[in-house]
Structures are given as C-alpha cells and as structure tokens.
C-alpha cells in the first residue's frame, strides 16, 4: 500500500507547506486538515454519535488499549466491529495504547518482545506485543491502525529518546509483518526533540513502506517552541505524498502552526476534557463559563458559532455548571469540538482559496487573547 492509495493532496499554500487534501478510507473520505475527536472507550464523552457528526467530525479516534481491556476486541468483533458497536459509520483511527501503557507509571514491564502490565480494569496481568496490538485493531475493524510504540516523556535524555525510537521502529516492522487485512497501518516516528533521533525515526518509518506517518512523542510538556522544532526535524524531507498525523496535538495555536508545517491530521482531548470543566474556546478568546461575570450574560458563548450550544446564553450555561447538571459538559464539549472543526474547516478553505498565511495570523491573534476572562 502506498500513500497514493489513501491520500491525495489537492491544494498547497504556494509559499509554504500547508496543504489540503482527501484521505480515502474504508468508511468514507476525510477532507484534510482533519481533527479527530477522542472517543477512548468507543464514545466521545457526553455526546451521541449524531451530535459528534453534527460538530462536523469526519473521523474519530478510539483507543485499542482501552477497548481491548473492556469490553474486549473479540466481543466488539462478534457484534459487527467497532463502527457498528458504537453506531459511528464514518472512519475510525485507533491509537495503539502505547502512550496509555507507559503512563501507568511503575506498573509495566517492557522489553524487546513487548510490554506487560497490570490491567487498570481488573488487575490481571496483560501482555501487549506488536503482533497482538495489530490483531486487536483488525478485530475492531478500524480504518487506520496504529502500531505499538514506546513513547518517552519530558524532560528526556537523547539516549533514552534514541532507544525508544529504535524499539518503536523494531515493533513497527513486526506490526507490518503481522498485518493480515487491507486495513491501513500508519507508522509512528518517535525521537522527542532531538534532530538526529527524529531524522532516524522518520526515515525508519518510511523505510517500512507504510502509507502514513504519525509523529509521536511531542506535546508531552516540552512547550510549543520545542514541539515545533521536533516537528520540523521529523518532517524534513518527508515526501509530500505522505499523510502526516501529529499525535495528541493540541491547542488551536498548535494546530495552526502544525498545519503550516504540512500536518494533515490531529487528535486531542482538550476540546472535550476542557469543555467538561467549563472552558470554552470562542472567536473572542477563551471563556471560563463558571466565572461570576457570566451570571447574567445574555450573549451566546460565541456569536460566530453555529452550534446548538450557542442558542442559549452564557448565563444559562453557567447555571448548568453551577447546578452540576450533565447538560453543561455536553454543550461545552459540543461547542469546543465545533470550534476545532470550524478551525480546520477554515484552514482547509483558506488553503484552497490561497489565503492561508492570512488565516494563520488571524487565528494566532485570536487565540492569543486566551485567558482574558
């Protein structure tokens, strides 16, 4: 499988690397740049799949690690696969769970064969190998599979980053061998923010012949400047035919800067996680809806938003949060996801219409007003 089998760039910023394209996947086309809402346990928290579709999302991210532990990939397969299980019929990408496993602290053992850990669900010992992780995602029937990888945190020594990058490459080669279906398998390039490690990581992924490149191990605390430097190292020399996915990123400013560097796909928990705590992105900056200033504010969250979240006042949304009502997190999650989708939809239009540099600066100016209220 080559990049051209799943991805076509249609428009480019003439002066830079931003581009618009289409991912062609088993469950439909995805215009890029694309933002994937996170539905870890086969649900975007608090939203029905109809609502997720109403935000404009064309592809979801779920988590193979979590779904394997509960309810189990074989159950999902027996019920017709993950799309049918969760009633979402557009494309799905599953993260492998490497990041989640290595977030378990001291509770895992890792060697070249794979990683074993105590299940956070039932305490049982579980082993994930590169082969097992592919098999899980084949059972789930997702459109895009991610290989088991070994991420590193921040701060991180260069030797540690190199070691994890090389192990991730070795695991990717085993994942490529293990794959038995026509599902798409991306490669994950690790390397933290180190030039030589990033170069080797990316070249190693491309050498495996996978049709898509995921950049992992960034946005783990190093800050935007270092993150973008690592991204630059990772993407230097990548043929433009490859779809590029920047994992776990990020803020609206991160997305715009990464799109400017040629990234096509993103996922992040921020819009839903922050939405649940009452934090809303708007065209005027960030609002913390519990703020007493909104007690009697008759305006919608964002006069420029077209979602159902913005057919009520800030005063009503604040009331929902103060009263502890579930509808508050639901409406702010919807709003933030719609904000992110409008952001990437706007980026795509701007690239297509040849005004990307202006759009980028407008967004950066807008989001830098963050925290005013």
């Amino acid at each position: 499988m080559t990049p051209a089998d799943i991805f076509a760039v249609s428009h480019r910023d003439p002066l830079g690397r931003a581009r618009a394209g289409i991912l062609r996947l088993a469950h439909g086309d995805v215009p890029t740049p694309a933002f994937m809402p996170v539905g870890t346990h086969a649900t975007v928290k608090g939203l029905t799949t109809a609502q997720v579709a109403d935000t404009g999302a064309r592809i979801l991210l779920c988590n193979a690690f979590h779904l394997s532990l509960r309810p189990g990939e074989n159950l999902v397969r027996s019920l017709g696969g993950l799309h049918r299980f969760m009633n979402w019929h557009r494309p799905i990408l599953t993260d492998s769970g490497g990041y989640q496993i290595f977030s378990l602290g001291k509770l895992f053992d890792v060697d070249d064969s794979g990683v074993s850990f105590q299940s956070p669900v039932d305490g049982k010992r579980v082993t994930f190998t590169p082969e097992r992780v592919v098999a899980i995602q084949e059972a789930l029937g997702v459109d895009i599979m991610m290989p088991l990888d070994q991420p590193v945190g921040w701060p991180c020594e260069e030797d540690t980053a190199r070691f994890a990058m090389r192990r991730s490459l070795a695991w990717l080669r085993r994942a490529v061998e293990a794959k038995t279906t026509p599902q798409v398998l991306f490669g994950i390039a690790q390397g933290s923010v180190f030039h030589d490690v990033r170069r080797e990581g990316t070249e190693g992924v491309l050498a495996t012949g996978v049709p898509g490149l995921a950049v992992g191990g960034l946005a783990v605390g190093e800050g935007q400047d270092l993150m973008l430097r690592g991204l630059d190292y990772a993407l230097r020399g990548v043929p433009p035919a490859y779809p590029v996915y920047l994992m776990g990123v990020g803020t609206p400013a991160d997305l715009v800067e990464a799109i400017d560097r040629g990234v096509d796909m993103f996922d992040c928990v921020l819009p839903t996680r922050n939405g649940r705590t009452g934090w809303a992105w708007t065209s005027e900056g960030v609002l913390r809806i519990r703020n007493a200033a909104f007690h009697d504010d008759a305006l919608p969250l964002d006069p420029r938003c077209d979602g159902p979240c913005c057919r009520v006042s800030r005063a009503y949304l604040r009331h929902l949060f103060v009263a502890g009502e579930m509808l508050g997190p639901t409406l702010l999650s919807f709003h933030n996801l719609r904000y992110y989708q409008r952001l990437v939809e706007g980026a795509r239009e701007a690239i297509i219409e040849g005004r990307w540099p202006t759009y980028r600066l407008e967004v950066l100016d807008r989001v830098r007003r963050i925290g005013k209220r």
Copy 2:
C-alpha cells in the same frame, strides 16, 4: 378563566372515563393524555432540548422552588423568560416546590402565612408565601403555574391530611387573588387517601374557579391500590371539562390505571432517574442494563423502540455503564422518556380508535413482566 378556555376533550372511552383531548396553552397545543418530562433546574438531566423534543414530549415540568433559589426568577425574567433561558419553546408547567420544601425534613417552619426554610443552595433563610410563589412563576413566564401547597407523606393520619388540605386550599385562594397575568393557574387538591378529605379538597379547588385540577399527595409510598382509591375519591363528581393532572405519577401501570380514571396529565422523575442508573423500560419488561447477561447481547434495548438509543446493542449500552461513560445515562434517559411518550401516544390513539380497554390490558400485561432480568 374556565376549563373550556384551555382544554377540549375530543374522544372518550364509551364504557369508562378515559379520554383524549387537547390542552391549548400559550406556547402551543398539547395532546392528552400527556406525560411531562421533569427538568427541575431548567434541564432534563443529560438531554438537550432538541433531544427532549425528539422523545415526543410536548410539555415540560420545571420547578419554581429550585429555579427561584438558583439562578433566581429575576435573572430568568431579565433573560427573556424560562422558555428562552433553556431554549425550549413548547409549553412549560412549573411545580411550586411545596413538595420539595416539605421534603427538607426539619429544616422548615410553616404556619398559615407560608413556609420558611434554609436554602439548600446557600444556607440563607428564605420565605415562600402563596403570593411569592405566584410571582416567581409569573417572572418565569411559564404556561401553567402551580400554587404553593402543603403535601403530606405516608403514612398519614386523617386529621393531618385534613389540616394540610385546608391550608393548601387557603393558600390556593390567596394565589388566585395574587395572580396578575393571563398565565394559567391550576389548583392542587390534597387529602391523602381519605374519602371525606379528598372530597372536600376537590370541591374546594373547584370552588376557586381555577381552570384545572391537580391531584397532589399521592404516590408517596401508599402503594398503587391505595393511590388509585385516593384518586377515585378525588375525581368523583369532577365535571368532565376540567383537565386533570396527577402529580408525580408514576410507573407505566400507574399511568394506564390513572388514564382509565380520567387523568390527562402526568409528570415523574422515574424515566430519567432510573435511566441514569441503568434501568430501561421495554416492550418486553424492564432491563437492568448492567446485568452481566447483556455482556454480549446484540439486540437493541427494545426492538419496538424508534429512538437513537435503539440503534445500538444492549452490549454497547452495558459497556457505557460499566465504563462510567456519560453517554449511558443520556441514552437510557432518552429511551425511557421515549417509552413513556409512546405509552401516552398509544393511549391517545387507542382512546380515539375506540380500543382503550384492550390497550390498557396489553400494557398492564407487558409491564407486569417487570423485574424478570
């Protein structure tokens, strides 16, 4: 205002007292029998108002007591009234909060003038009088207002019931005097399950000239047999022109038996409260979705349900509850509200088509299979 100004019966069961009609209210018509979902704090827990409308609900119940304490009726009025505040543009009835205040245990003081209590929101002393409760609901701008009343619990002595009934009547007369708008004010007849008290309660309400009769103080623990006996006492001799609202009732069997006695309106927290804990009504009885038996069950909750809740499997819904995901309570709340709406829609159709007795028996047979799984 007379009953004919707001209510018209169009069809009757020729052998009994079940009837179908239309309530004509400021924000639209409501076909009866009608079930009102409960949106205590200006939200049906976990559902957007679009979803509530999708369940088929034509009228909502909110709570004047709760909304007065938070966010305050003056704020709601300044934002355009309760309909606009919560983005629900069909009729709204508000309960006065009598029941909630008297559920505060020892935290209230009551005399003929009204009731004072410590606010559960901020601990401040608050006084509700019949006049104040009308003013709150006028500020909210609801379609149907309920007067302050003094309910009694169960078990209950006849003298206690009589005392509370008479005080509730005195307060109703003050509420009628206090009303300054064309909003509809119902009367609440108390009287527990005692024949003479119920008769006096109903006659007292009708004597005030209000256009609708609410039967309060039932379904508080006395059991269905006594509840229906109290209802029979309360409704004997009520002119058929009056819309009748049985407050806080109840199970599907309760609704059917009450419709059979001439009740037109209901509200109850059961479908949403039980839905949040994983309990679902279906055409095959009640399912407790956390039950391990549903682990791999590919069927929808109810093959006869037409809601989005039934486009996923029981296995998926169980997974959501086991994983503690918000979407589980949301989908089961939707499902149960849709079940209740289908129940009253079916009752209405059966009455109109002259097959009410058969419909009643079918429903009773179905719901008596409760608890099998």
